[in-house]
C-alpha cells in the first residue's frame, strides 16, 4: 500500500485543517475537500475581498492563499446541517482512511458527526480534530486566531529585544502551520496503526499545546539551563541590511574577536552567557565592525574565519534563493492563471492539480466513492444536501 491509496475526507477550513489535507495531496493521496456554499470557507476570499479584478461570481475562486492550501484536492459541496448531507458524510467516511476537521470543539458532535458516529460506520477511520484548545478541558470553547493562540501559549512574549517588553511576531504567525505539522504527524501515526491493526483513532489536537510544544528549549532555558549559543544580529553598510552570527563557545568567541580586531577587549564567554549587558557590549563591538562593511563581504570574512554566520534575508532575497526558486511549482488555475506554489516540506510526488472550484467534483466523487447513479445524485440535490 502506498500514500496514493489513502483517501482523505477534508472538512478543514481556513488554514490549519486544509494544510494537513494539502500535505496528503502533495504526497499523492486522494483528498476530497468537503465544503459548502451555504457557509463558505473564509479563505476562499482571503486577500481578494476588495480586489476589483473579480466579480461576485468568481471572487471565491481567486484567493492565492486558498489555492496554496487546497492544491491537489477535489471539491465536494455538502450542507452539513442538512440531514441528508450529514448522512452523506457518514457514508463517505465509510470509504475514507482519514477525516480532517478544525471546527470549534464539539461542532461535529452537535451535527451528529462525532467520533462515536464515525467509528460506528468505519472502525478503521482516523479522525483528526484540530481546535484552539482541544476537545476537552478549560479551553475547549475558545475561539482563536493565530495571534491569540501564540500569545496564550507564551511564544509572543519571547519575540522581544533583550530586556524589553515583547514585540511579538504578528506578521509571521507560527500557530496554524505548526498545528498542521503536528496534525500531519498524528494522522500519519494513526494511519500506520490502522493498517497494522484495523483499528481507527480519534486525534484530539490542541492548537495552544502545539505552540507550547515547540518552546521546549525556551522552557529548559527558562529553568536556568545555560545558553547554548550567543546570537548577534548586526547592522551592515547599506539600507536595512543585517547579518546574524551564532557563537557556541570560547573558540568561536576567540575567532570572532580576532576577525573584528577585538582581541584586546574584555569579552569573556562565561560572562556573556549570563549577562545581557555583556552581550550588549559584544554586540556593540561587532556592529562597529559590520556597519562599515558590505553585508556579503562581512559574512564571507566571518565564515572564512570558521564562524557560523548568515545574512538575514529579506523576503525578496529569500524568494531568489535556490531553496525556494527550485522548489516553486507553477500551477495554472482556471480563474487566476499561473501561480507560484512552494512544494510541501513533507515531499511532493508530482505537480498537483490546481485548487478545485467550489463543488467542481461533487458528482465525480459521489460516483467514485459511493457508486451513486446520476438519478441518486439528482435526488440529493433536490433535498439541498449538495449545496
Amino acid at each position: 500500500m502506498s500514500i496514493a491509496d489513502i483517501r482523505v475526507l477534508d472538512l478543514g477550513w481556513v488554514w490549519a485543517g486544509p494544510l494537513v489535507g494539502a500535505a496528503f495531496a502533495d504526497l499523492g493521496a486522494d483528498v476530497v475537500k468537503v465544503e459548502s456554499s451555504a457557509r463558505l470557507d473564509p479563505y476562499r476570499l482571503r486577500g481578494v475581498e476588495r480586489d476589483s479584478r473579480y466579480t461576485a461570481e468568481n471572487r471565491h475562486e481567486a484567493s492565492p492563499s486558498f489555492h496554496k492550501l487546497n492544491r491537489g484536492k477535489r471539491s465536494l459541496t455538502i450542507d452539513l446541517r442538512n440531514p441528508a448531507g450529514r448522512d452523506l458524510v457518514l457514508r463517505l467516511a465509510e470509504h475514507a482512511d482519514l477525516l480532517i476537521e478544525n471546527f470549534r470543539a464539539g461542532t461535529l458532535a452537535r451535527l451528529g458527526l462525532g467520533w462515536p458516529e464515525l467509528r460506528l460506520r468505519n472502525p478503521a477511520l482516523v479522525a483528526l480534530s484540530m481546535s484552539a484548545g482541544g476537545q476537552v478541558g478549560r479551553w475547549r470553547d475558545m475561539k482563536a486566531y493565530a495571534l491569540v493562540t501564540t500569545a496564550l501559549a507564551g511564544y509572543e512574549s519571547l519575540v522581544a529585544y533583550d530586556g524589553e517588553p515583547p514585540v511579538g511576531g504578528a506578521t509571521f504567525g507560527i500557530a496554524d502551520p505548526n498545528i498542521s505539522s503536528f496534525g500531519v504527524l498524528a494522522a500519519m501515526a494513526g494511519i500506520w496503526r490502522a493498517r497494522r491493526t484495523g483499528n481507527g483513532t480519534h486525534i484530539d489536537l490542541s492548537g495552544v499545546e502545539s505552540v507550547v510544544a515547540v518552546l521546549g528549549a525556551a522552557l529548559v532555558l527558562h529553568e536556568g539551563a545555560t545558553l547554548p549559543s550567543i546570537e548577534i544580529t548586526a547592522r551592515c553598510a547599506g539600507d536595512d541590511l543585517w547579518l546574524l552570527t551564532a557563537l557556541t563557545g570560547v573558540d568561536d568567541l576567540a575567532r570572532l574577536l580576532a576577525t573584528i580586531d577585538g582581541t584586546d577587549s574584555a569579552h569573556r564567554w562565561a560572562e556573556l552567557v549570563v549577562s545581557a549587558d555583556a552581550r550588549a557590549a559584544l554586540h556593540g563591538d561587532v556592529e562597529r565592525w559590520t556597519a562599515a562593511r558590505d553585508r556579503d563581504d562581512a559574512v564571507k570574512l566571518l565564515a572564512e574565519a570558521g564562524i557560523t554566520v548568515t545574512p538575514v534575508l529579506s523576503l525578496e532575497e529569500r524568494n531568489a534563493t535556490a531553496a525556494v526558486r527550485d522548489r516553486t511549482m507553477r500551477i495554472v488555475h482556471p480563474v487566476t492563471g499561473a501561480e507560484p506554489i512552494l512544494q510541501s516540506p513533507w515531499g511532493t510526488v508530482d505537480v498537483p492539480a490546481p485548487a478545485p472550484r467550489l463543488g467542481e467534483h461533487t458528482d465525480q466523487v459521489l460516483t467514485e466513492w459511493l457508486d451513486l447513479s446520476d438519478a441518486e445524485i439528482a435526488e440529493l440535490r433536490t433535498t439541498g444536501a449538495l449545496s
Binding site: G47, V214, A218
Partner: protein, 329 residues
C-alpha cells in the same frame, strides 16, 4: 485524573508501538523528531558517537539534550550492524555517514549551511526571512525564540518520516529543515504579496495582513494583551469593551484603519487599555464576546494547571512538553 485514567491515556498514546527507529542525530531537529516518535510508542535507538558531547545543548546535566533523548536506547557504532530497524533518521551533513542498513533510510540535511549544528535554529529563522519579518521598523530584526525553528523542523521531519514508512519508500531521502521554515513563511506572506503590502517588521501589529483592525499586541497596566477583530462588529465590541466607543465612532471602518490609519488608531485606543490589568481586559472581553487573551509569559504557561496532564507536561521535570494531542483509540 485518576491513576487508571492516566495509565489509559499513556497506553493509548503508544500508537507507533512496533515501529523501530535508528536515530543518528546530533542537531535538534532530528533528536526532536526521534523524541516525538518515541512519545508515540516507537522504539528509538540513538547512535552515540565518540564526539557526541560536542552536540548542541549538552552543556550541563539539565540540558535540552537530556530532555530530548531520555526515552531512547543509546547504542554504539558496533551495535548498529545487528540492529533491526524500520527507518533511520539522521542529520548527518554527509549522507554517506549514515550507517548502512537494510531498513528504510531518510536523511534530514539542513541546507545550505555548513557550520556547527548548534546555531541551526537561528540560521533557519534568518535564511527563511522569518527573522526579517519580526521587530520594530528601523531596528534590528528579531530571531525566533530559542531553538523554535529547529523544533518546528523536527515536527515536520517526524511526519515526513512516517510518510516514507507508510509509502514503503526504500532508499536514502533528503529533507531540509529550511524547507519547513520556508513553507511557514510562504503561507504567511502570500496575501501580503498579493495585496502588495510589505511583509516586514511592523512591531506589534500586522496591520494589513489580517485585512482588518485590530490584530496585534497592546500594553495594559500589568503586561500585554493580544487583540483581534475580524469584522466591523468585532471592532465595535472591542471598542465598547474598553469604553472607547468614541474611537470607534471616529474610525468606523476597520479595513481602512488596518491599511491607512493603524498608527493613529493605536494611539487613540491605547490609553483606554493602559489603565486596565490583564484580568480586567479579559473580563471586559469575555463579557462582550471579544477575542482577547493575555500575552503569557513562560511562568504563566507553567502555571496553567490544565497543561499539567499525563499527556503534556509529562516528564519528571514537569516542564518539558510532550505531545499536544490526545489519542482516543
Amino acid at each position: 485524573m485518576s491513576n487508571e485514567t492516566a495509565r489509559d491515556a499513556a497506553d493509548n498514546r503508544r500508537i507507533l508501538a512496533g515501529l523501530r527507529v535508528l536515530e543518528v542525530g546530533r542537531n535538534v531537529c532530528v533528536p526532536y523528531a526521534g523524541y516525538l516518535l518515541a512519545a508515540l510508542g516507537a522504539t528509538v535507538a540513538k547512535l552515540v558517537q565518540d564526539d557526541d558531547p560536542a552536540t548542541l545543548c549538552r552543556t550541563d546535566e539539565d540540558s535540552i539534550y537530556d530532555r530530548l533523548n531520555g526515552r531512547k536506547q543509546f547504542v554504539g557504532a558496533a551495535q548498529v550492524a545487528g540492529l533491526a530497524v524500520d527507518v533511520v533518521i539522521a542529520d548527518s551533513r554527509d549522507i554517506a555517514d549514515v550507517p548502512a542498513s537494510d531498513g528504510l533510510v531518510s536523511v534530514l540535511r539542513v541546507t545550505p549551511l555548513d557550520g556547527p549544528p548548534v546555531a541551526d535554529s537561528a540560521l533557519l529563522s534568518a535564511l527563511s526571512a522569518a527573522t526579517w519579518s519580526m521587530g520594530e521598523p528601523g531596528r534590528a530584526p528579531v530571531s525566533m525564540p530559542a531553538q523554535t525553528a529547529a523544533f518546528i523542523a523536527g515536527v515536520v521531519f517526524a511526519g515526513a518520516t512516517l510518510a516514507k514508512v507508510l509509502g514503503n519508500e526504500v532508499g536514502r531521502q533528503e529533507l531540509s529543515g529550511l524547507n519547513a521554515l520556508n513553507a511557514f513563511v510562504d503561507q504567511n506572506s502570500t496575501s501580503y504579496l498579493h495585496s502588495k503590502i510589505g511583509w516586514r517588521r511592523e512591531g506589534r501589529r500586522a496591520a494589513g495582513s489580517a485585512g482588518i483592525y485590530p490584530y496585534g499586541i497592546f500594553d495594559c497596566s500589568d503586561g500585554e494583551v493580544a487583540l483581534i477583530g475580524r469584522s466591523r462588529g468585532d471592532w465595535t465590541k472591542i471598542a465598547h469593551s474598553f469604553g472607547a466607543s468614541d474611537v470607534r465612532e471616529r474610525y468606523p471602518d476597520p479595513f481602512d484603519i488596518a491599511r491607512h490609519r493603524a498608527d493613529e488608531v493605536d494611539a487613540a485606543l491605547q490609553p483606554y487599555i493602559d489603565t486596565l490589568t490583564k484580568a480586567e481586559v479579559m473580563a471586559a472581553a469575555e463579557q462582550e464576546g471579544v477575542l482577547a487573551v493575555p500575552v503569557s509569559t513562560l511562568d504563566d504557561v507553567l502555571a496553567f494547571d490544565n497543561l499539567h496532564t499525563e499527556r503534556f507536561f509529562w516528564d519528571a521535570s514537569g516542564t518539558f512538553p510532550g505531545l499536544p494531542f490526545l489519542v482516543n483509540t
